[in-house]
């Protein structure tokens, strides 16, 4: 009897232990739970950014055996990314580039009128959220990493909300229009302080033009005249182009204004400048500049002036009335008068 009770106790203990193990195991091996990631995208200071196509790509999967509970997803095994306690800020950009280069896609979602995109029923993991569609008139959303679920102590949040850095209206692209002034010397030494002027004229007065406070603008023709001293770079300034300029070509002429400095021959070449606004592979605006001299392609404008001073230059003209004879005659006359009266007095005294 005693033996039977002992055996029963042992069996009960074993059963209880097994149940406990199963319970713990069940708790840890709960069925795969999904969650959601809600991304709210804004423009500038708070306007919602609708119609942005976003993608959520799994970059790290849940792994109980990993030190931090996550390991790199197979698609990113070659990316060099590893899950660390503190993910570097540049990790998201690197993963974004890797995903783009290897055409790795994830779950897509489009932001609604409130700028919100919802990725629903997402398995646990670390996700890269990136914008995959054409950002249009806005800058592309900065890619970022988000962990789902969010873990704080023993608490897990499976409905994650993310507010990435706001996008901005796409900045205009700008170019700097410039030319070069050269001086060729025939004879003599050209002075260093000669000023040369150059004029940039738009083919259409509505063409974008540089804003140059040191130049002179003509409101009737839209032209801009800049001046420089001596040889060197001629800078008209930056011209900005906006998204609405995409696909357009703007034409300008650049020429030197004829000066009249002594002994200089001026360059009469007229350059045509054509600026075409396009998009690069990333969808960013770019401006391509092409120069021409008449019908021929040319490099950036170069204006050459020739200095040739004669060996015996003419003097500055005499521009004075002759007043010195007046002084000379008056002075001489006064002296003679004084001398004459003095001599007369002596003559009268001796007489």
């Amino acid at each position: 009897m005693k033996k039977a009770r002992f055996m029963l106790a042992i069996l009960l203990a074993v059963l209880l232990f097994a149940a406990g193990v199963l319970a713990v195991g069940a708790q840890q091996a709960e069925p795969d739970q999904t969650g959601s990631i809600r991304v709210t995208l804004k423009i500038g200071k708070g306007t919602p950014r609708p119609d942005a196509t976003l993608s959520a790509i799994l970059v790290a999967v849940r792994d109980e055996n990993a030190a931090l509970g996550y390991t790199t997803a197979p698609a990113f095994a070659e990316s060099g990314f590893t899950v660390t306690e503190k993910i570097p800020d540049e990790a998201a950009a690197a993963l974004d580039a890797f995903a783009a280069a290897n055409a790795i896609t994830g779950r897509a979602a489009v932001t609604d009128a409130d700028g919100t995109a919802l990725f629903d029923e997402m398995p646990e993991g670390m996700y890269l959220i990136r914008e995959t569609g054409d950002p249009g008139a806005y800058t592309r959303m900065t890619p970022f990493l988000v962990l789902m679920p969010q873990i704080e102590g023993s608490r897990r949040t499976y409905d994650v909300t993310a507010a990435p850095k706001p996008v901005e209206v796409r900045p205009p692209v700008s170019i700097t229009l410039h030319a070069e002034k050269q001086i060729a010397v025939g004879n003599g030494a050209p002075p260093e302080n000669v000023r040369f002027s150059f004029i940039l004229t738009p083919e259409d007065i509505t063409n974008p033009m540089p804003k140059n406070d040191e130049g002179v603008s003509n409101t009737e023709t839209g032209s801009l005249t800049v001046t420089r001293t001596g040889a060197g770079a001629v800078v008209f300034g930056e011209i900005g182009f906006k998204p609405e300029d995409l696909g357009k070509t703007y034409t300008y002429t650049v020429r030197e204004l004829k000066g009249t400095d002594a002994y200089f021959t001026y360059d009469t070449t007229v350059y045509t400048v054509r600026v075409t606004v396009a998009q690069d592979a990333d969808g960013k605006l770019k401006a391509d500049v092409a120069y021409a001299k008449g019908d021929e392609k040319a490099d950036a404008p170069v204006f050459v002036n020739i200095y040739d001073k004669p060996d015996d230059p003419p003097p500055v003209p005499r521009t004075g009335q002759l007043w010195w004879p007046v002084g000379l005659l008056a002075g001489g006359g006064a002296l003679l008068l004084i001398g004459g009266f003095l001599l007369r007095r002596r003559e009268e005294e001796t007489a």
């Binding site: 040369f196 004829k258 000066g259 045509t272 003209p317 007043w323 006359g333 008068l337």
Partner: protein
């Protein structure tokens, strides 16, 4: 009656003084003549100024290769003028001829070199009281205006006075950053009173 030496000296002195007076009278009359001539020419130019300044000249017929802009001129009595120079402090309103010669200088100031387009215009004139004599003593900071025949007015401010020798032609026509230069002879005629001006506005 014996002709005394003192009488000869006194008579000579009187003759010289009369000569000096004659010279002075002639110079003043010449200056008056030049002033009246300049005033009448300036009035003709002013009458013909457009109410709205002309637009800057542009290439014609697509002939871009050889286009060179030049200052607009107005012909009066066979001579070409580029505009009117005003110096309020001296109460001067004078026409400016397109190019200089000694005959031209007897009528009005003349362009010596440069252009208002390239901000290096140099104007010379005789030191008549009615022309540029006042430049010798004009104060710095005074306003100078040049109105081109096309109607656009350029406003300058006097910023420097220099004395140049006759053999400094290059320095005269290559102003060191100055936008307008006016020059005339000093009384002795040996050197040039040179007034440098900077552009205040267009």
């Amino acid at each position: 009656m014996k002709f005394r030496k003192s009488t000869a000296l006194i008579l000579s002195g009187v003759l010289l003084l009369l000569g000096a007076a004659g010279f002075a009278v002639y110079n003043n009359a010449d200056s008056d003549r030049a002033g009246k001539s300049a005033a009448s020419i300036a009035a003709v130019i002013a009458e013909g100024l457009p109410t709205k300044p002309a637009a800057e000249a542009t290439p014609q017929n697509g002939n871009l290769d050889r286009f060179v802009p030049e200052m607009e001129t107005k012909e009066i009595d066979g001579a070409l003028y580029i505009g009117i120079l005003e110096i309020p402090a001296l109460e001067l309103t004078l026409p400016v001829r397109e190019s200089w010669s000694y005959d031209a200088l007897k009528l009005s100031p003349c362009r010596y070199s440069g252009s208002y387009y390239t901000n290096d215009l140099v104007i010379c004139a005789h030191n008549y009281a009615s022309h540029f004599n006042g430049l010798r003593t004009i104060a710095m900071g005074e306003d100078v205006y040049f109105t081109a025949v096309g109607g656009r007015t350029y406003h300058y401010v006097i910023t420097n006075r220099e004395t140049l020798n006759p053999d400094e032609a290059e320095r005269m026509s290559t102003p060191d950053g100055w936008d307008l230069t006016l020059f005339t002879c000093y009384i002795g005629g040996a050197t040039r009173c040179t007034i440098r001006c900077s552009l205040a506005e267009n």
